[in-house]
């Protein structure tokens, strides 16, 4: 038990250290999130928009500026967390493989990476929620944080998955940016009057947009929609874990004794 804790805590400490050494990501967190939300507050028209909110099962009419602050915050946290997790996973892929081949349990390495993801996502979403609250107080701020957290988990998982699968840094960055743009471009009712189209249900941030808008304007709890982000997270990290396991398998044949590197 003590050995397992040592392995987990050591790997987690280093996973968090990697994030702290990623200065670009820290700069993005500190500046990109408030700049994006502030620009939405200053620029986007506050005319009312009416759209069908599946999480509540009815049409709602809300302030266009406020709902865009929610979609802007989702856009910011998904981009940053997705970028952070992709870069860390991609750049340490060979190193992690070497550690695993040296005997470091893969489960501990993956658990450490996910712990750092969850920690970073929780803090960044709390920061984004606090900035939104500077301009507008949502109906349920804590629920809005939880909704944002789901989107951050989903894109963090996608970042880990792409980092494990891809062998080009540019491809991964491009995919995360494009996915986030498509995701929010289609779901924001101000940008897309047909945002209630059934296709948007298959987007990674669908659950967050539904639960985020609910948290902003209603007093209900869309439990199922809150679970969609974590579901994306579980699916993507499972793919990442399988990829990592396959990459670090011992490829020799007919080996009577297994050794470590």
């Amino acid at each position: 038990m003590r050995l397992a804790w040592t392995r987990y805590s050591t790997a987690t400490g280093y996973a968090l250290l990697e994030h702290l050494r990623n200065r670009l990501a820290l700069v993005l967190v500190v500046f990109f999130v408030p700049i994006w939300i502030t620009l939405v507050y200053l620029v986007i028209n506050d005319a009312e928009v009416t759209f069908f909110l599946r999480a509540s099962g009815r049409n709602i009419t809300v302030d266009g500026n406020d709902v865009t602050k929610i979609s802007g915050a989702i856009n910011a946290v998904t981009l940053i967390v997705g970028f952070m997790m992709f870069i860390v996973t991609y750049r340490s892929a060979e190193f992690d493989e070497r550690l695993a081949m040296a005997g470091y349990p893969r489960g501990h390495l993956l658990a450490a990476k996910l712990t750092s993801l969850i920690t970073a996502a929780a803090l960044i979403c709390a920061y984004a929620t606090a900035i939104i609250c500077c301009y507008w107080v949502p109906a349920r701020p804590a629920l809005l944080w939880l909704a944002l957290f789901g989107a951050a988990l989903a894109f963090g998982g996608i970042g880990v998955m792409l980092g494990a699968l891809l062998r080009g840094e540019l491809e991964g960055m491009f995919l995360i940016i494009m996915l986030s743009i498509i995701d929010m471009g289609l779901q924001n009712p101000v940008a897309n009057p047909a945002s209630d189209n059934g296709i948007v249900r298959f987007l990674p941030s669908y659950g967050t947009m539904q639960s985020g808008v609910t948290a902003g304007f209603l007093h209900t709890t869309p439990a199922l929609h809150l679970l969609l982000g974590p579901l994306w997270f579980l699916a993507t990290v499972t793919i990442a874990g399988i990829t990592f396991r396959l990459r670090t398998r011992d490829r020799r044949r007919h080996i009577p004794f297994l050794g470590a590197l």
């Binding site: 050591t10 280093y14 750049r91 060979e94 081949m101 490829r251 020799r252 044949r253 050794g259 470590a260």
Partner: protein, 255 residues
């Protein structure tokens, strides 16, 4: 700690420089330098009928290889001859099309290019691999830092280290758990001459302690360092090659 040797050569040259040192023929008669002290035991590494192709390009065509305990052996070959492919298969990092690889214990693998994390310091790398290998302490790792002469960089992040110092750490991570079998793929790339000599002293010491050391090389200078040398050519190993006694560097390794 192995004392540093004074280089008689005027240049601190890059160990990977082959431009003026073509690979020699390796068909000299076998006169094993260390034959007398070799323990008569089972091979540490046994490789049988190893095949590997990339599309139509047959890199390995039935490689056979045995490395007994306490032997420092080398595999030489031209660029693209399949040396690194062979070592990656031996280390379990690449799947062979056919053939067997076996060894009765742990091994240390030093890849040709450095596999490190630029965000961590040297000490943090050592701590991470201490946990991976399950070592009670870092005494051996610190000893290797002294031998390879980079203990002063323990608190430096890898991103700030020179290529040679990174390679020293790359090598240290492969040796720090003191495995019975070492697979080293041109482990001295970027070393200055003094460290290059220290590396060979270290390799000889490990051999004398009963470890099996297989080094991939394409440097003519190295050939005199080995107890046994193979040349990888046309996907096959030419066996029986040995250059013991023909110390072309003018500096004997520790034995």
């Amino acid at each position: 700690m192995i004392p540093a040797r004074i280089a008689t050569h005027p240049i601190p040259r890059q160990a990977s420089d082959t431009s003026t040192h073509p690979i020699p023929h390796v068909s000299d008669p076998p006169t094993l330098r260390n034959r007398d002290r070799m323990p008569p035991s089972a091979p540490t590494l046994h490789v049988g009928d190893l095949h590997k192709s990339y599309g139509d390009h047959h890199v390995l065509r039935g490689v056979e290889l045995e490395v007994p305990p306490g032997r420092l052996v080398g595999v030489v070959g031209e660029n693209g001859s399949g040396k690194s492919t062979l070592l990656r298969i031996l280390a379990g990092r690449l799947t062979p099309d056919r053939g067997t690889v076996s060894f009765p214990g742990s091994l240390g693998y030093c890849p040709q290019h450095t596999v490190l994390n630029p965000a961590f310091t040297v000490d943090q790398h050592l701590r991470f691999f201490q946990v991976a290998y399950g070592l009670p302490d870092l005494e051996r790792a610190h000893e290797l830092l002294d031998i390879l002469n980079f203990a002063a960089y323990r608190r430096h992040r890898v991103a700030t280290l020179s290529g040679g110092t990174r390679q020293k750490l790359n090598l240290t991570l492969a040796l720090m758990h003191d495995p019975p079998l070492l697979l080293l793929d041109e482990p001295y790339q970027g070393f200055d001459w003094d460290t290059y000599e220290r590396f060979w002293d270290l390799a000889a010491t490990l051999r004398d302690q009963g470890r099996s050391v297989l080094v991939i090389s394409h440097i003519a200078f190295d050939t005199a360092r080995f107890d046994q040398l193979w040349r990888l050519d046309g996907g096959l190993l030419a066996t029986g090659a040995n250059t013991a006694g023909a110390d072309i560097t003018g500096v004997r390794t520790a034995d």
